[in-house]
């Protein structure tokens, strides 16, 4: 009985600061510290899912352009994905330049998508911006769709001769990766 009386007694004045007891403070502090700790533990658990250093290190590709004639194209590999390197014919360049920019879903000119003075070299990822299939059309015997560029067989997206999306579900033009001309006949991608 005597012990109960002690426990039930109101806390000593020295324990109270603005109505909060010392125990409340310890509670909040402990839960906060545990919460911050839990968040800190989440960081490595989430971050480990991102591309690892070896995947990131393997991220530049050099392509020799010397053997590619106008109208031809090759598929190179960049970051484990196909890279379309296509040398446009004058007719294809003219077709791409004739399209009014305002009619495009993802408005870009051929000049913006190629290097200046190298308009004939159309270098894009061979990855449909819809759900990532490899479009057909890098080889002229494949289906190039209505616009003479690329045609994705998965869901029917069609790209023009500047690899711009013209029809179908894809939201964006085929991605132009970062690249530089090292010489007139060699590029470095990435």
């Amino acid at each position: 009985m005597a012990d109960d009386a002690v426990i039930d007694a109101p806390p000593h004045d020295a324990d109270e600061i603005g109505g909060a007891r010392r125990r409340d403070f310890i509670n909040v502090a402990a839960v906060s510290a545990a919460g911050v700790g839990a968040l800190a533990v989440l960081l490595p658990l989430i971050s480990q899912m991102s591309p690892s250093a070896d995947v990131l290190a393997d991220s530049t590709t050099e392509v020799d352009l010397s053997g590619i004639q106008a109208g031809q194209g090759i598929v190179a590999v960049y970051r484990s994905q196909p890279l379309f390197v296509r040398r446009l014919m004058p007719r294809e360049i003219a077709e791409a330049e004739a399209v009014p920019i305002s009619t495009l879903r993802d408005p870009e000119t051929l000049e913006q998508r190629t290097k200046s003075g190298k308009t004939e070299w159309l270098i894009t990822m061979g990855v449909c911006t819809h759900l990532g299939c490899v479009p057909q059309g890098i080889v002229s015997t494949q289906n190039r769709g209505e616009f003479g560029g690329y045609f994705c067989p998965c869901h029917g997206s069609q790209y023009d001769t500047a690899a711009r999306i013209r029809k179908g579900p894809a939201p964006k033009n085929l991605v132009v990766p970062d690249y530089v001309f090292k010489t007139d006949t060699a590029i470095k991608v990435g």
Binding site: M49, S50, S80, L131, C152, C154, P169
Partner: protein, 429 residues
């Protein structure tokens, strides 16, 4: 909880008495799926599919764990390790075919289980929590099945992984980063295969846990039944064991006959031949299709070819595909009819079959190439799918005049219920 007339567990053997004191697991089983669980006496074979789904999960776990002892989750040798299972491992062909066809069987029985719920209004209160858990289980099943299909690292595996993870890149702003994070690379790579393997091993056990919750919540109101009339008295029920253990056992036997016919005589009928070609990141198969059980949802994904309300077509397709399942979560509140069973709901019953036809049509389109007329049909069928749940169901449930319900389950079975006479209720004879 159970009905007051439920049988009580009475261990007779001294060891069982001892065990009951220390760890009442036999009592738990007795009350869950034994003679201690009173079940409506009028359940038809549509009520067999929950047990079958549980059986399929166990089948997948057992065959999956043994396959895991021979499979190598490395993009360089995964394909070869599957061929090794098929050719070199003792009974490896049997185990792999059992697992691959087991996935199809699992989805087949779960689809029947879900559509049973649609027809009989099983999702209605007081059973809405069972339904919500069930939809969550279905989503987990879809994730598990998708990741399992990636593991053989064939062409369909690889490009399926590319397309399905590509769905997440449709999300504005964070999409591309999320896509790379999910894959652990810029395209499906070794890291992708490894994480899918780890999750494919983990998720079935999460599903198992969810199923325990699903059954737990089922045992609070007790099983529904084909009349949709709640249990009123002891004469409405029979003990689960031996009545439904026997009936489910017979159903399981019939199921196994069909399953074994598929597994032994047409083991690749539901698969795609392209998945026997090793994954090639440089070449997309001309016609990417998921497994048959995803076709209806895949058709909805592909139905959006034009931007819509300022939302890009790609994002719209992804939203629609996820919504097509998420809408099931709202079903208990979209269907406002006080009557549960389709047997007494003349309009609901008709629209149920329209929905079945619509989903089959979507499935047919989803398995076909992305060209006309399939695209147009997918679009119309996808619109109807959402119209059914969001417009038809609420309207039908408020304008429909239900047919008279039997007084009780007993009356529906025997044609009369003495208690109905006592209660002064008109016998529907």
């Amino acid at each position: 909880m159970s009905f007051p007339w439920a049988n009580h567990y009475k261990p007779s053997h001294p060891f069982m008495v001892y065990l009951d004191e220390k760890l009442p697991l036999p009592r738990f089983v007795y009350n869950a799926i034994g003679a201690g669980y009173p079940v409506p006496r009028n359940l038809n074979y549509m009520w067999n599919f929950g047990v079958l789904a549980g059986f399929c999960l166990l089948l997948q776990i057992v065959t999956g764990v043994v396959l895991a002892m021979h499979y190598a989750a490395n993009s360089g040798i995964a394909f070869d390790s599957v061929e090794h299972i098929m050719r070199d491992v003792n009974y490896g062909w049997l185990l792999r075919y059992a697992h691959a066809n087991g996935a199809s069987a699992f989805f087949a029985v779960v689809y029947i289980h879900i559509f049973r719920g649609f027809f009989y209004g099983s999702y209605k209160p007081p059973r809405e929590m069972i339904w919500l858990l069930g939809v969550a289980i279905f989503l987990l099943m879809m994730a598990t099945a998708f990741m399992g299909y990636v593991l053989p690292w064939g062409q369909m595996s690889y490009w399926g992984a590319q397309v399905i993870t590509g769905l997440f890149s449709a999300i504005p702003i964070v999409g591309n980063g999320l896509h790379t994070w999910l894959l652990g690379g810029f395209a499906p790579v070794d890291a992708t295969l490894n994480r899918f393997y780890a999750l494919h091993f983990l998720l079935p056990f999460v599903i198992l846990g969810m199923i325990i919750l699903h059954i737990w919540s089922l045992h609070i109101p007790g099983s529904s039944n084909p009349t949709g009339v709640e249990v009123k008295s002891e004469s409405d029920t029979v003990p689960f064991h031996p009545y439904y253990t026997a009936k489910d056992g017979f159903g399981l036997g019939c199921f196994l006959v069909v399953y074994c016919l598929m597994m032994f005589y047409a083991p690749n009928a539901l698969g795609h031949p392209d998945n026997y070609i090793p994954a090639n990141p440089m070449q997309t198969p001309a016609h990417i299709v998921p497994e048959w059980y995803f076709w209806p949802f895949y058709a909805i994904l592909r139905a959006f070819t034009q931007d819509f309300f300022m939302i890009p077509a790609k994002l719209m397709g992804v939203l629609a595909m996820f919504s097509s399942i998420l809408v099931w979560f709202f079903l208990p509140w979209l269907d406002r009819s006080p009557v549960r069973s389709g047997h007494y709901r003349p309009l609901h019953r008709k629209f149920f079959w329209v929905l079945v036809a619509d989903v089959v049509l979507l499935g047919w389109c989803g398995g076909s190439p992305a060209e006309e007329p399939y695209v147009m049909i997918s679009q119309l069928a996808a619109v109807y799918y959402f119209v059914h749940f969001l417009i038809v169901l609420p309207i039908v449930s408020s304008i429909e005049k239900p047919e008279p319900l039997p007084f009780s389950i007993t009356e529906s079975v025997l044609g009369k219920d003495d208690q109905a006479a006592l209660a002064g209720a008109p016998a529907s004879a």
